[in-house]
């Protein structure tokens, strides 16, 4: 069903046109788009209209202006108000505000859709009479929705001719501009039109035979094509990021390799890291590396041979299956204690109480005592 404004007529091409819309709810039936411009009857455009028309608390004589970008229909602007629904405004029985089933006020979104960018709409200006005409156009639809609730079928609107500045005697409406609503692609990225705008306020006549499709008569087709839509891709950013990662990797590798050639142990700022490094070395069968995690003082007490015999009893055999784990260290000032478990299949499990100490910001195993009861 298509709603028409009183006094609709084919317009001269130089007069701007606008399409009424209405969003609202009834007592039980939830919010929905009740009246939609005929060229926006597809699902995506209906959802866009619903999402863009956010509730606006505005003083009298003011309407919200919001541009919609990224739609297939081209740049669209909404000019609307968010009235609290009152029975008398829609010729419904009763008095006062209409309430939903939980007793809440019902706010509507009632206004115009123009196929223009916001700057052009501001240049045209909207009159109070235009909005009153919108209300007269959509009010019957709301009344029907209130009565039928979920049985109501969405209606489409045809373009109506806006009053021109010359012909206006009424009160201009102040337009309060909202941030643009931007359609998002499936990837979540905004859909950016190329920055081309119509140079003139085109007179878009009704001339369309079918709702939901942009059927411009050839004689009235604007010279400016609708902007193409492109999806922003931060390709350059990705290349820069990758290049940065590569350079950083080269630097880190250089530092590690140079450092490794001078000292067997990389300094560890936390006891966890020292224990992790120690166990990794044991698990990999690297006795020399593991020995390097002992403090200098402890290395004086425990020779490499003794250390190897304790932790690498299967030297030359299947060392790779040694499993070293440890408990999280309990901190106490600049010392920490942990328990180290060393297990190798076919050999005894040994448990060690390890005491770690910090020396100039680096943690080492300062002593280890084997616990009784290993298998």
């Amino acid at each position: 069903m298509t709603v028409s404004a009183p006094g609709d007529a084919l317009a001269a091409p130089d007069r701007p046109h606008a399409w009424p819309f209405l969003i609202g709810r009834a007592r039980h039936a939830g919010h929905r788009v009740l009246v939609v411009p005929d060229f926006m009857a597809d699902r995506a455009a209906v959802s866009a209209l619903a999402a863009a028309a956010r509730t606006a608390d505005l003083p009298d004589g003011t309407a919200r202006l919001r541009e919609l970008r990224g739609l297939a229909n081209g740049p669209i602007c909404l000019v609307y108000r968010s009235p609290t629904a009152r029975a008398g405004d829609y010729r419904l029985p009763g008095d006062g505000r209409l309430l939903d089933e939980t007793g809440r006020n019902i706010r509507l979104a009632e206004g115009l859709v123009l196929r223009l960018p916001a700057s052009a709409v501001e240049a045209i200006g909207i009159d109070r009479a235009d909005l009153e005409r919108v209300h007269a156009t959509v009010a019957p639809a709301y009344r029907l929705f209130w009565e039928r609730e979920d049985g109501f079928t969405r209606q489409t609107s045809r373009g109506l001719e806006l009053s021109t500045p010359v012909g206006r005697g009424g009160e201009p409406i102040r337009l309060q501009r909202d941030a643009p609503w931007v359609a998002k692609s499936d990837s979540g990225m905004p859909v950016h039109p190329r920055p081309r705008q119509p140079e003139t306020v085109a007179g878009y006549g009704p001339g369309r035979q079918e709702s939901g499709r942009d059927q411009w008569p050839e004689t009235q087709r604007p010279e400016t094509q609708w902007p193409e839509m492109t999806v922003a891709r931060p390709r350059r950013k990705r290349l820069l990021f990758a290049a940065g990662a590569a350079v950083a990797a080269v630097i880190v590798l250089t530092v590690v390799l140079v450092g490794h050639s001078r000292a067997p142990v990389t300094p560890h700022a936390l006891p966890d890291a020292a224990l992790t490094g120690f166990c990794d070395a044991v698990n990999q069968g690297s006795a020399v590396h593991a020995y390097g995690f002992l403090s200098a003082a402890y290395r004086q007490q425990m020779s490499k041979a003794v250390f190897n015999a304790q932790f690498f009893p299967a030297a030359g055999k299947d060392e790779s299956k040694v499993a070293c784990t440890f408990t999280a260290p309990a901190m106490s000032g600049n010392a920490a204690d942990s328990t180290i478990f060393v297990v190798s299949p076919g050999h005894s499990r040994s448990t060690w109480s390890a005491h770690l100490t910090e020396e100039s910001g680096t943690w080492y195993i300062g002593s280890m005592a084997r616990n009784a009861g290993g298998r």
Partner: protein, 406 residues
């Protein structure tokens, strides 16, 4: 040889960095660090906006745990106005229903107020307020309008709380013959089953209205038993293995004796009544322990064969909150090319975290109340509050349901 190795590693890192940034660029809405998203999934009129206001009110002044929610000045002002509107009993004004164009992501910094005037921010909480009609559309009802931000949050939320409208539940239990309510319940539960999240709970809103035909308040046990009798869908949902144990939390945004429901369904505030929301904080306190246990389960499910500490899950799949909890409990994490290894078995992580939370704070130098401490406080409060609810006899459900039980 070593030059070849270096070149291969550099190329691999470059490719990895390229892939990571491509992934970051493709979503268009990466979560901020340490952000937790809580989605209250409910249909129109179920109370989502009121829960937002109640939640903010609850955490306004810190309370015994010293946890407060901070937001930007504009949002703060709007929320204060919302609170003023609700608690003003000189009129019956309540917030309007959320319109289709009013989807809004509220972002709060969860700040902990420590001793001696110290404060630290633990994490960011995102709460999406939206028209329930969008949830109905996704469930297959309604008129088909869709909202991208709602869909995106439905996919990415850390925890989803299904909101069962208490007033409709009451009608189902007391008035009977409410086929529409039962169907609506099934549709909501179906949304939860379809969701990817493992952390799901149920809230019964408007709990203050759940009274039998004689005006006696229902117990939670009674409500759950009767729902299972009247709704096969609800019964099946409670036994779905996917979720493990589902909490059912009665919530009243108004609390007792604040609102009267009139015969026509509208509400009237009692003059001079005090607004005391009930259990409104629980969905928030369930969030962090659930995120942690969910990530532990993820790690364990992807454990390397024969290992209880190594997993093939990549570190960036873990929530920042989980990483923070591991660090707080001094559980080291060693990253490899195919996942990472922890210094404790997966099964011991929760115990370790909780032991750490329970231990007296050690004196380290310097003593600084930082983000890790704040996160620890919030975690501690979360465990404490959620366990207090679980143990409260007034919220006990008989018998408790184990996932997978017939």
């Amino acid at each position: 040889m070593s030059a070849t190795v270096i070149i291969v590693i550099v190329l691999a890192l470059a490719a990895f960095g390229f892939r990571q940034s491509k992934r970051a660029g493709s979503t268009g809405s990466e979560p901020a660090p340490d952000q937790v998203t809580l989605l209250m999934l409910g249909f129109q009129g179920s109370g989502k906006t009121l829960m937002l206001a109640s939640l903010f009110k609850h955490f306004r002044l810190g309370g015994p745990y010293g946890i407060t929610l901070l937001t930007d000045d504009v949002s703060e002002r709007e929320l204060e106005q919302l609170i003023d509107k609700i608690q003003d009993t000189s009129n019956n004004d309540l917030p309007d229903s959320t319109g289709l164009g009013d989807t809004r992501a509220w972002r709060f910094t969860v700040r902990v107020l420590g001793e001696d005037g110290n404060t630290a921010d633990a994490l960011t909480l995102k709460y999406l307020d939206y028209a329930g009609e969008y949830a109905e559309s996704v469930s297959g009802a309604g008129t088909g309008e869709v909202d991208g931000e709602f869909l995106s949050t439905l996919k990415s939320a850390d925890i989803i709380v299904g909101v069962l409208d208490g007033e409709k539940i009451r009608r189902l239990l007391v008035d009977g013959g409410q086929g529409r309510v039962a169907h609506e319940l099934d549709r909501l539960l179906r949304l939860l089953v379809r969701a990817d999240q493992r952390s799901v709970h149920l809230v019964i809103s408007k709990w203050d209205r759940l009274k039998d035909a004689h005006g006696r308040p229902f117990t939670l046990d009674q409500v759950v038993r009767q729902l299972e009798e009247k709704s096969a869908g609800f019964r099946d949902f409670r036994r779905t293995p996917k979720f493990g144990r589902i909490r059912i939390i009665p919530v009243s945004t108004f609390g007792r004796d604040f609102i009267d429901v009139l015969p026509d369904g509208s509400t009237a505030k009692r003059p001079g009544a005090q607004w005391r929301p009930m259990n409104i904080d629980l969905p928030f306190y369930c969030t962090l322990p659930d995120i942690l246990s969910g990530d532990i389960a993820l790690m364990a499910a992807n454990a390397k064969p024969g290992s209880t500490t190594q997993t093939t899950v990549s570190r960036d799949r873990l929530a920042q909150v989980t990483l923070g909890a591991l660090a707080m409990a001094d559980i080291a994490l060693k990253i490899s090319t195919h996942g990472f290894a922890l210094t404790v078995p997966f099964s011991a992580i929760t115990a370790r975290v909780r032991a750490r939370l329970a231990a007296p704070q050690e004196h380290r130098q310097p003593a600084v109340f930082g983000t890790r401490d704040a996160l620890g406080r919030v975690l501690k409060a979360s465990y404490s509050r959620s366990e207090a609810f679980d143990k409260d006899p007034s919220w006990k459900i008989h018998p408790p349901v184990e996932a997978g039980q017939p």
